[in-house]
């Protein structure tokens, strides 16, 4: 019955990283000197979720760390700190540390413990209230450890999944000083919520493959679990039979938990143990021993309900007295609604026995009243709770529908408010597991899916129309058939576009990391930079997006480091002190263009020229156009920066950037004006799954050339062909000599002709080089769907993939850069071989 935790673990990692992103972007949005509670709340929530999640998996380090951050945020929220840049920086650093720890988890790697410690110390320093060691509450020794035998009763606390220690109503937990005690507290009885479980497994339980630790792990997922191990039955070491279970446990589970949930956990061991489950009572002293069985459960509920009914009745009166004095705010309306839902749920739960049905709703009402009180007390934490709750009201309603679980501990109102959060978090956790996301998953908006469904609907209609035409078809219906086919084509195309759109993500996924990067770098470099993002909603293929991330970061770093000048220089140049970096994305004719522009120094063409000459890339008297000079920056190892910084300037990078972009079928171009800034324009195909292709025929085979790589196609004038060192042919096209590559030679196939003037020359460009491909003829141009050749076979040089043509046959897609490479290899072969092919 062990649950596969790895999957949930991945979920945790993914969610935590998302939360960290939220934290980071919100932190950067914080304005110094102001107190934006909404923002701080959302940062707090993010940190809190991470802490909660980490608790499930017992990553104590993360829990401790997140807790420190959370405490600081809490203090900020309460106005104990002014928002200052150092404070934001500390929190940003804390976020980084958590990210590091989580990534380390993800890759099962070690992280820099010292760094984390340093950051944690920094956090602690900023705290007004020293926090008690959070780790103590997260002692995670497994309850079955035999060391427990020292004294009869050893206490272990199993970390709770979502309830942070601040909110756990354990008697020994000190309530943080920030929580405000409220007068109403005293009038309410101390009711604890949770379950007390006495679990005495039979000696032989382990033999049936049941392990108590799994049970406890399950329980700990439900709420805050306190485990007491009774090892009094443990024999001396010599007498121990390792296959027997000598230990028994007393467990206390805190939180809103359905009895059924606990029953379910013990379901498999029911007949192999002595099990007593009782609800925690106000004083938590009276422990009913109720055997676990479904029939008796009902009685049990009644019993508890009866016991509490009187008190509740009292409380209710008390409450209503109070209620008159307490002003309610708007949020209560939400609560009221929820109350209705709850009551409905409770009614569903009503058992035939009259007493129970009476007592049950009562109890629930009481709980709800408590909830209503809380917002008045510490409105912030409740607000926070509600924000989270609003999203998952459903989950909550479900969870609260069991009467017994709703006994809130009012020992501190702050606590109950927080528990609210915790409970909602639990709910959200559950919601998430329903649509478990893997690391290479994608979130698709409902709109897109609805759109898709509409398309399919239309397709079905078209199909049935064609069906009708097809029945008893005669020539008079030809036009109808044509219309139908036209419609079918349109539907198919639209459907294809919609399906492709599913893979599309807004570029903001990539852009979002830049505010942080710019923030950090500008500080590091002592520059003032304003980052402007626009067109963040421009969508592009997920794969393209992911592969573009690194090149973009590189370009942004470069712009910050070399582009934008330091404030003094800018002032001297008559520019505003704050530099502007603008990232802009937009569509242009089937492509997406990402432009990165800054208003910095721009490229010093003279410097580039000097450097090029120095590197032997150009000669002294050579005339170089602006474009040609810009081209040099993409050369590996080319840098005009005299001082290499740790940000950039080593000259590696731009060539990698260009290579990455080219690998995606894109291009990059530079525009720059010395002293006024520079702009990089990256042009990328919208998707990698479909490309516009030109079908060419060589002999009997059909190949596809990406339309993007074709410059022109021409009929060969034989007088313009010259041979080169008698092993290669070149074609003079205007002012250029272009090598001729005979595709049939390269592929060792038979072509229809080997006479250059009978075929066609397709001038293509790849890897910055032009080459003339000699083919028999050009066929049609069409959109093709790229299929992988590698998935079942192997990468073939000169071929980037395959596609399926209209007749169902396979055609290979040529990779121009690969062909050129192949061609270079082949021309190195002995002359005889080439000759024989000519």
């Amino acid at each position: 019955m062990a649950v596969d935790l790895t999957e949930i673990r991945e979920l945790f990692i993914e969610e935590s990283l998302e939360n960290l992103d939220v934290m980071e972007s919100n932190l950067l949005d914080l304005e110094i000197g102001t107190l934006d509670k909404e923002l701080i709340n959302s940062i707090f929530r993010a940190a809190h979720s991470i802490k909660g999640g980490a608790g499930i998996f017992k990553f104590e380090k993360i829990v401790t760390f997140a807790h420190a951050a959370e405490t600081l945020l809490d203090e900020m929220r309460n106005g104990e700190h002014l928002i200052t840049q150092p404070l934001i920086d500390v929190l940003l650093c804390a976020g980084d540390m958590m990210r590091m720890m989580i990534s380390a988890l993800q890759d099962d790697k070690e992280y820099d413990v010292q760094k984390v410690q340093a950051c944690q110390n920094e956090l602690q320093k900023n705290l007004k209230t020293p926090i008690e060691n959070a780790q103590a509450d997260y002692d995670v020794s497994p309850p079955t450890m035999p060391e427990a035998s020292e004294n009869g009763q050893t206490e272990h606390k199993v970390s709770l999944p979502t309830t942070p220690e601040v909110s756990s109503p354990l008697p020994e937990t000190t309530i943080p000083p920030s929580s405000k005690e409220l007068p109403i507290n005293e009038t309410l009885p101390t009711i604890s919520k949770g379950w007390h479980i006495v679990f005495k497994p039979a000696l032989s339980m382990l033999k049936t493959g049941n392990d108590p630790i799994y049970l406890f792990r399950e329980l700990a997922r439900l709420g805050d679990l306190e485990v007491k191990t009774d090892s009094s039955q443990l024999p001396t070491f010599e007498d121990i039979d390792p296959q027997l279970c000598y230990l028994s446990w007393e467990l206390t589970l805190y939180g809103d938990i359905e009895r059924a949930a606990i029953d379910e956990i013990f379901e498999w061991v029911e007949d192999e143990c002595e099990l007593h489950i009782t609800a925690l009572e106000p004083s938590a002293q009276r422990v009913e021993k109720i055997p676990l069985s479904k029939e008796e459960k009902l009685d049990f509920d009644t019993e508890i309900a009866f016991k509490q009914e009187e008190e509740l009745q009292l409380d209710k009166e008390n409450f209503f007295e109070k209620q008159g004095k307490i002003p309610f705010n708007g949020e209560d309306i939400i609560l009221k609604k929820e109350e209705e839902i709850l009551l409905d749920k409770v009614e569903e739960f009503e058992k035939p026995e009259g007493e129970i049905s009476k007592s049950v709703p009562l109890q629930n009402e009481k709980t709800l009243e408590k909830e209503e009180i809380t917002p008045v007390k510490s409105s912030e934490s409740v607000k926070e709770a509600f924000l989270a709750e609003a999203e998952i009201t459903k989950g909550v309603a479900k969870e609260t529908s069991i009467p017994d679980e709703k006994i809130i501990s009012p020992s501190s109102l702050k606590i109950s408010a927080k528990e609210e959060t915790v409970r909602t978090k639990q709910g959200s956790g559950k919601n998430h597991t329903h649509h478990t996301i893997e690391s290479n998953s994608i979130r698709v908006s409902i709109d897109k899916i609805d759109n898709l469904i509409n398309m399919v609907g239309e397709l079905v209609i078209t199909q049935s129309m064609l069906d009708q035409v097809g029945e008893g078809f005669d020539n008079s219906q030809m036009s109808q058939l044509r219309d139908g086919l036209g419609q079918l084509e349109r539907n198919t195309r639209e459907l294809q576009e919609s399906v492709m759109r599913i893979r599309m993500l807004p570029i903001s996924f990539s852009f979002n990391r830049f505010p942080r990067l710019v923030h950090d770098l500008s500080e590091q470099l002592g520059k003032k930079i304003e980052l402007k993002l626009s067109g963040e909603n421009t969508e592009l293929d997920k794969t393209v997006l992911e592969k573009m991330s690194d090149p973009l970061v590189h370009l942004v770093r470069n712009a910050l480091d070399h582009g934008v000048e330091i404030p003094e220089q800018r002032r001297a140049a008559g520019k505003p002190e704050t530099g502007l970096l603008h990232l802009h994305a937009f569509h242009q004719g089937g492509n997406i263009i990402i432009s990165i522009s800054d208003d910095g120094a721009g490229f010093d063409l003279k410097k580039i020229r000097d450097k090029a000459i120095q590197k032997g890339l150009a000669t002294l008297d050579e005339y170089l156009s602006e474009e040609q000079l810009h081209e040099f920056i993409f050369q590996p190892g080319f840098s005009t920066v005299t001082q290499v910084s740790d940000v950039s300037g080593r000259g590696v990078g731009m060539d990698v950037v260009r290579r990455n972009i080219r690998a995606l079928g894109g291009t990059i171009e530079v525009k720059s004006k010395y002293g006024q800034g520079s702009t990089f324009n990256i042009r990328l195909p919208l998707t990698l799954a479909i490309l516009d292709g030109q079908l060419v025929r060589v002999g009997e085979d059909i190949y596809i050339l990406p339309l993007l790589s074709i410059i022109e196609s021409l009929r060969v004038k034989i007088e313009l062909v010259s041979s080169f060192a008698s092993r290669a042919e070149v074609y003079r096209l205007r002012d250029e000599y272009i090598p001729i590559l005979r595709l049939y030679t390269l592929f060792n196939i038979t072509a229809a002709t080997n006479q250059l003037d009978q075929g066609l020359l397709v001038i293509v460009e790849g890897d910055g080089q032009k080459i003339g491909l000699f083919v028999d003829e050009l066929l049609s141009q069409q959109q093709i769907v790229i299929k992988s050749l590698e998935s079942n076979f192997k990468k073939v040089e000169g071929v980037s993939g395959a596609t399926i043509l209209g007749d169902g046959s396979v055609a290979l897609i040529l990779d121009v850069a690969g062909l050129i490479h192949l061609f270079h290899n082949q021309t190195k072969l002995p002359i005889m071989r080439i000759r024989s092919n000519l």
């Binding site: 592929f747 060792n748 079942n792 073939v796 395959a802």
Partner: protein, 162 residues
């Protein structure tokens, strides 16, 4: 095709190549289909016929006759392609088609009945042979499909693309 005594894992599909009968684990066989025109892949060994479109996926086709250096047989309506699942060393599943003369039967062969292939020294490579089994007094060569369609095939392609 009696399945009462042995489990499915011990079932083998046999096919004929020239006069010999070869067998592959039936669980690896995805389907048996007729010959369709293939698209040749440039610069690959002769026995890699090319690729076909198998319901939207690109599947390479290997001619076992040529692979075993037997005489080439013209492809036609009677040519049979056995589509098999091949696991690579990294447990990646690939779909490949092998061209054979014809499929023959499905036999139950118990694991213990499979004899290791005799050592022919360097005359005949037995690295693709899992073992030999006797069925109805005939010898059946049981192929190790993973080795046959992985190591050498792809290694050859590898070396060519260098």
């Amino acid at each position: 095709m009696n399945s009462d005594t042995t489990n499915v894992a011990d079932k083998y599909l046999t096919f004929v190549l020239a006069t010999e009968e070869y067998a592959v684990d039936i669980l690896r066989v995805q389907e048996i289909k007729g010959w369709n025109k293939v698209t040749t892949i440039p610069n690959t060994p002769e026995y890699i016929c090319g690729v076909i479109n198998l319901r939207g996926t690109i599947v390479p086709i290997i001619d076992l006759r040529l692979r075993f250096q037997l005489e080439r047989l013209a492809y036609g309506a009677m040519t049979v392609v056995v589509v098999v699942k091949v696991l690579s060393a990294t447990k990646k599943e690939r779909i490949m088609g092998i061209v054979v003369d014809g499929v023959s039967d499905v036999y139950d062969v118990a694991e213990e009945k499979i004899k290791p292939p005799p050592d022919f020294g360097s005359v005949i490579s037995t690295e693709f042979v899992k073992g030999l089994a006797t069925v109805d007094n005939k010898m059946v060569i049981i192929l190790d499909i993973d080795r046959l369609l992985n190591s050498n095939e792809l290694a050859i392609v590898d070396s060519l693309s260098q």
